[in-house]
């Protein structure tokens, strides 16, 4: 059995009386794509927020690369190599695509307290950033401000940023949302190729993509994981069919 890169144990989060995350345990193993599916309001994004550090869980523990990160903030977890993309693209909108990626490269190199050297002519920043853009197919859009990129291109840019960070695991929150057919297909190919480099916890509504990519699927309903298994197991799980797949039109 492969080692777990990310290990979530008995995680709970309550907002008042509402249990958004209810005793969730799941893990992400080396080389796999683990999809997290569930109906709207199941608590998928809340769970991602707790793993990335935006929200503190009420109980439970998160271990990343063998280290307990439950008490660390977002920036500290990112520096350990926990990369993420957002459900709604979150970028420095005035900056060109390249400079968005360069921010991740400079973070990876260590200090942002360097005051004088021009980043635009610093090959140690621009070259890795350009390489990351090429991997997601955005090399031709490097100089375009993030605000002028299409929705799908912003998704790709977020992934390029996570790659440039040297992420050792990726949390992707609905990367396919709002993408066209062709965009979804090329992103599926990209993610497929990435799993060897960094395992992916994938929150996704696009079932074609999930079934094409996932090594394992966990189904979240009302904050609880009701089933975890391979694509075949989940397809044939009666609980899942009633709770989720069956409810789909």
């Amino acid at each position: 059995m492969a080692e777990a890169i990310l290990d979530i144990r008995n995680l709970s989060k309550s907002f008042g009386g509402l249990k958004a995350t209810d005793d969730v345990s799941l893990d992400l193993k080396k080389g796999e794509i683990h999809a997290l599916i569930g109906p709207n309001g199941a608590g998928k994004t809340t769970l991602i927020h707790q793993i990335s550090g935006t929200l503190r869980p009420s109980a439970g523990a998160i271990r990343f690369l063998g280290q307990d990160v439950t008490g660390l903030d977002v920036a500290a977890r990112a520096r350990l190599g926990l990369g993420r993309t957002f459900q709604i693209s979150s970028l420095a909108m005035d900056f060109p695509a390249l400079r968005n990626v360069m921010l991740a490269v400079q973070s990876r190199q260590g200090s942002s307290f360097r005051f004088f050297r021009n980043v635009g002519t610093d090959a140690s920043l621009t070259e890795p950033a350009m390489a990351a853009l090429s991997r997601v197919g955005l090399e031709g859009r490097a100089a375009v401000p993030a605000s002028e990129l299409s929705h799908g291109e912003r998704r790709q840019l977020e992934i390029a940023i996570a790659l440039a960070l040297g992420s050792k695991a990726l949390l992707l929150d609905e990367p396919m949302a709002g993408m066209g057919q062709e965009g979804s297909r090329s992103l599926t190919r990209l993610l497929d190729a990435l799993r060897g480099e960094a395992p992916i916890l994938l929150v996704e509504h696009d079932m074609d993509a999930v079934f094409a990519l996932a090594d394992r699927i966990s189904v979240l309903v009302y904050g609880r994981v009701i089933a975890t298994g391979t694509v075949g197991e989940i397809r044939n799980n009666a609980d899942v069919r009633t709770a989720y797949l069956g409810a789909r039109p």
Binding site: A78, L91, L103, F113, F116, R117, I161
Partner: protein
């Protein structure tokens, strides 16, 4: 970008040419006016680092402006009377005074920033205002250095190799400092630190997600910003040969914000353009009516409604980030 550079160069040349011409024509008043522009531009350029590049709307920068002023005033008073300060001999040389103003401002800005930056938006504005008001009332109620009446500087502080009593020499000192700081800002804007600071303004969540803590970046920017505004304050006290608590008033904080917005928030030469316009209006309209700020209000309204990039934005268009 090229257009902005040309405009910046023109502003820099104008600000240098006017006092040189005035000096040649034996019109020291206009030299003093240009000096006022240069000093206010430096103070606003300091604020611009926090407000323009960092998006931190500090409504308390007058505190640092005033602290710098008081350092200049207190040093001048002690040096004039040959009294030691805290047991140390006191210099009346500007570089020493600037260094002292910088250290004091940094020491004050560090805790203020560390506390204020826990908040954001309106709360940040209010908490920086509250700190500045505390310092303002402290200055009023501290009798040793004039209290409410302020403190006169009998002899303008000196600068090695120059006679600062000469208006043109003093102008050149102020202009040189402004130019040096703008060059520094130009480098910082395009550096790693500048990238992180501007990214944190645009999207703090994104900055944290790549592993950079926005708080530290912002705190550093806030402290540097305070130091620069403080040094400008020391010059301002030397220009007027007088320092009083009014330099620390909330109106002064507001004026600095107005300068930045008028000129163009987050534009390198925005504070210079803002200061030129402000001082010109003050001079031209102030001669006609005491209520000249009414017209300033209209202009500010126009800028906020129709020209968000201020004067620089109007001339050079939207800022481009390389």
């Amino acid at each position: 970008m090229r257009r902005e550079t040309a405009f910046n160069d023109a502003l820099a040349a104008l600000l240098l040419a006017v006092p040189l011409a005035a000096h040649a024509l034996a019109e020291p008043f206009y030299v003093a006016l240009a000096t006022r522009v240069a000093i206010l531009a430096l103070a606003a350029a300091g604020l611009n680092l926090a407000l323009g590049f960092g998006g931190l709307v500090s409504f308390g920068h007058a505190a640092f402006f005033g602290i710098g002023g008081y350092v200049a005033g207190i040093f001048a008073a002690h040096a004039f009377n040959a009294e030691p300060l805290l047991g140390l001999p006191v210099s009346d040389q500007m570089p020493v005074i600037w260094l002292a103003a910088a250290v004091v401002c940094a020491l004050v800005a560090l805790p203020i920033g560390a506390i204020s930056l826990r908040t954001s938006g309106v709360y940040f504005i209010m908490i920086t205002l509250a700190f500045a008001q505390m310092i303002y009332y402290f200055a009023i109620s501290w009798p040793a250095y004039g209290g409410e009446d302020g403190l006169s500087i009998t002899v303008r502080n000196g600068f090695p190799g120059l006679n600062t009593a000469n208006p043109l020499s003093f102008f050149l000192v102020c202009y040189g400092l402004l130019a040096a700081f703008l060059v520094l800002m130009w480098r910082v804007r395009d550096s790693r630190f500048g990238t992180a600071l501007q990214a944190a303004r645009q999207n703090a969540e994104r900055v944290a997600a790549v592993g950079i803590k926005p708080f530290r970046i912002r705190l550093a920017a806030f402290v540097i910003s305070a130091v620069v505004t403080g040094i400008a304050g020391a010059l301002f006290a030397d220009l007027n040969r007088f320092v009083s608590p009014s330099m620390m008033s909330w109106q002064m904080s507001g004026e600095l914000i107005v300068l930045v917005i008028l000129g163009g928030t987050g534009r390198l030469f925005g504070p210079v353009a803002g200061a030129i316009l402000y001082v010109l209006l003050e001079y031209a309209l102030g001669g006609l009516t005491e209520r000249w700020q009414l017209f300033l209000g209209f202009i500010l309204l126009g800028v906020v409604l129709f020209a968000r990039g201020g004067i620089v934005g109007l001339v050079a268009g939207k800022a481009r980030h390389g």
